[in-house]
């Protein structure tokens, strides 16, 4: 099986969807000749032409509104926002219009928003956020956060098939850093089905996106000390695989939740609440969260490192849980 970067997997997935289904088109700022801010759409303009690879002005509201309208009429738009941070400009069209369309009118909105997210390269406060948790709070939207090249391609195909607005958060720090095996043929990965990154018996660690790799390094450290950590990569947050988490907690009795988004009202809070509601008696220790502090993400590399959860932060929390 060919090995591909996370970025290449998304790019290949886009091309495959566009070849397969004429209704699929991409639009966004600089997605044409330039190939997108991160070069994910390189080559698409040459293959599919300017009517299926549409360079839009700096108009996030109209891009998302336009995607919604064309999805209503039966097309399958994939809109790229250059940075997930910019989705705030389009909040009204996404949250007020698209998310509530099916509930109000009974008409599906099969659109995908590609949202490059996450920090780790000093992008500063407006280019490094991980806003996925905010959208899990909006009924009608689906939220996808692939961590591996394999998942990136498979979840993109599922997103295109889905009749709802799907927010596809692609982590920028994984684009060229992470490689993995990706099948050439088309495949889908169901939403709401977690991936066990590694099996373990002592502590359950639930995470997604780039934090999967931080979690793995921390688990390696614990393994050296004889503590076995089970890492669950949720893959999608809305819907999320509660069953997988409950089954793991039934086995380990201890739960750590890790995310790059800020702590208060982050999706970790929801996971913790539901585990407490449904598995309180299975727990042998308080649930722990490792997350970014409640502050905007800073620019300076030293500050950013202090902001994004690091391997040592996770290992330390795991050790405390193990000792509890």
């Amino acid at each position: 099986m060919p090995e591909k970067t996370y970025l290449q997997a998304i790019s290949d997935g886009l091309r495959q969807e566009m070849r397969r289904d004429e209704r699929v088109f991409v639009l966004g700022e600089d997605v044409g000749v330039y190939g997108g801010a991160f070069k994910v759409t390189v080559g698409l303009l040459e293959e599919f032409g300017p009517w299926r690879v549409i360079d839009a002005p700096l108009s996030e509201i109209a891009i998302v509104g336009g995607a919604t309208g064309s999805a209503l009429m039966g097309l399958r738009p994939i809109a790229e926002l250059q940075f997930s941070d910019f989705v705030s400009c389009a909040w009204d069209q996404l949250v007020t219009v698209a998310a509530k369309q099916h509930f109000r009118a009974g008409t599906p909105v099969p659109m995908v928003l590609r949202l490059p997210s996450g920090g780790g390269f000093s992008g500063g406060p407006f280019h490094s956020q991980s806003p996925e948790s905010a959208f899990t709070h909006v009924p009608g939207l689906k939220v996808v956060c692939p961590a591996t090249p394999h998942d990136a391609k498979g979840l993109l195909a599922t997103a295109v098939d889905d009749p709802n607005p799907v927010l596809y958060f692609e982590h920028k720090h994984l684009y060229r850093r992470i490689k993995g095996e990706v099948p050439d043929e088309r495949y889908t990965i169901p939403f709401g089905k977690a991936r066990i990154e590694r099996a373990g018996d002592d502590i359950t660690l639930v995470t997604w996106g780039a934090m999967v790799y931080t979690a793995a390094e921390a688990a390696d450290e614990l393994q050296a000390g004889g503590v076995s950590v089970e890492i669950i990569d949720l893959r999608t947050l809305q819907p999320w695989d509660k069953q997988a988490v409950l089954e793991s907690v039934a086995k380990t009795s201890k739960l750590l939740i890790l995310h790059e988004d800020t702590r208060t009202s982050g999706f970790g809070a929801e996971i913790a609440a539901q585990v407490v509601e449904e598995a309180f008696e299975q727990l042998d220790a308080p649930i722990r969260r490792v997350a970014a502090p409640d502050t905007p993400i800073p620019f300076s590399p030293q500050l950013e490192k202090a902001y994004i959860p690091q391997v040592e932060d996770v290992a330390s929390a795991l050790r405390e849980l193990a000792a509890y």
Partner: protein, 323 residues
């Protein structure tokens, strides 16, 4: 008469039909005001009294397959686009038989089958949808047009400018129909817009602009037909400015303290589109009374239908959140 004049002139019988539709809307809106004051209709409602000619003239010019988007002041658009009065009234009553199954109410009227992609309760909020629908027509080379209704207040919103820019840039088949009723809720045009001639908004994008007397239903019909023909020919979108009057408060319950009473009464006396059409058609009192009674009866039937509608089952609350 030019060829275009010929194509876009309504037959004389059609003007009679326009009058019937306008009367239906007028009586519908008056009933809505009364039923709302009697606390039968929940929420808030905005009636389009005074703006009937815009809705009727514009929708009559649409071809099958064309779509509209609407605003918070949406009853007239829905009725003119062909949604039965019963379904609209039932929606206002929050009943399952309503055109949005009781989930939207007055400001969220849908009838996708009849080409009404829905109203947005955010001012200017549907302009992106119309632009996107037009994008799909353009991408599929379908000879269809999306017509977006919005008011003067919406021309200050970001989405208005982004949608106008995109539509003109990509030559999309959209008609941006601005109903300038001179009031953004309680704020007069002069206080919310630095320009009084709103067609200048279109000039900024190099977009074709047309202006029409929104109280003259035939003129609205003809101007809309011209705008639609332009958009359908792939020549690009059109900004169609209908100068109209809000002969009612912003919403039912609004006391209009901000509005000069004399001006209001004078406008009501001189700018009623129904009175204008009646005069134009030189109808006898007898014939006009007959048409009024027909409209009254249709609205009474709609109210009766809505009152006897089905309340949504709370068990269905979680249904249809996702497709």
């Amino acid at each position: 008469m030019t060829e275009l004049d010929f194509m876009t002139s309504p037959q004389s019988g059609e003007l009679g039909r326009f009058l019937q539709q306008m009367l239906l809307i007028r009586y519908f809106e008056q009933q809505v005001e009364e039923r709302y004051r009697d606390a039968e209709i929940p929420g808030f409602v905005h009636v389009a009294i005074g703006q009937e000619a815009v809705a009727v003239g514009a929708c009559a010019a649409l071809a099958p397959g064309d779509v509209i988007t609407s605003t918070h002041r949406s009853h007239a658009h829905a009725l003119a686009k062909g949604t039965p009065a019963r379904a609209v009234m039932a929606e206002l009553y929050g009943k399952v038989e309503g055109c949005s199954r009781g989930r939207g109410g007055s400001m969220h009227l849908y009838d996708v089958e009849r080409g009404n992609l829905g109203s947005s309760a955010v001012v200017g909020g549907a302009l992106g949808i119309a632009t996107g629908a037009a994008l799909s027509f353009s991408l599929r080379s379908e000879p269809r047009v999306a017509l977006a209704f919005f008011g003067d207040g919406a021309t200050a919103s970001g989405l208005f400018h982004e949608s106008m820019n995109l539509a003109q840039l990509w030559k999309l088949p959209v008609v941006f129909l601005c109903e300038n009723n001179r009031w953004a809720e309680s704020t007069p045009l002069a206080q919310h817009s630095p320009i009084t001639d709103l067609t200048q908004r279109a000039q900024a994008f190099g977009m074709t602009a047309l202006e029409v007397d929104g109280q003259d239903v035939e003129a609205v019909y003809r101007a809309t037909a011209e705008a639609l023909a332009h958009a359908r020919s792939a020549a690009g979108p059109v900004f169609l400015l209908a100068e109209t009057y809000r002969l009612a408060p912003h919403n039912v319950g609004d006391q209009q303290e901000y509005r000069d009473k004399e001006e209001y009464e004078l406008t009501r006396a001189t700018q009623d589109p129904i009175a204008k059409l009646r005069e134009r058609l030189a109808l006898s009192d007898e014939r006009f009374d007959e048409l009024e009674r027909e409209a009254e009866a249709a609205v009474a039937d709609a109210v009766d239908f809505a009152r006897h509608g089905t309340d949504p089952d709370p068990q269905t609350l979680l249904e249809d959140v996702y497709a």
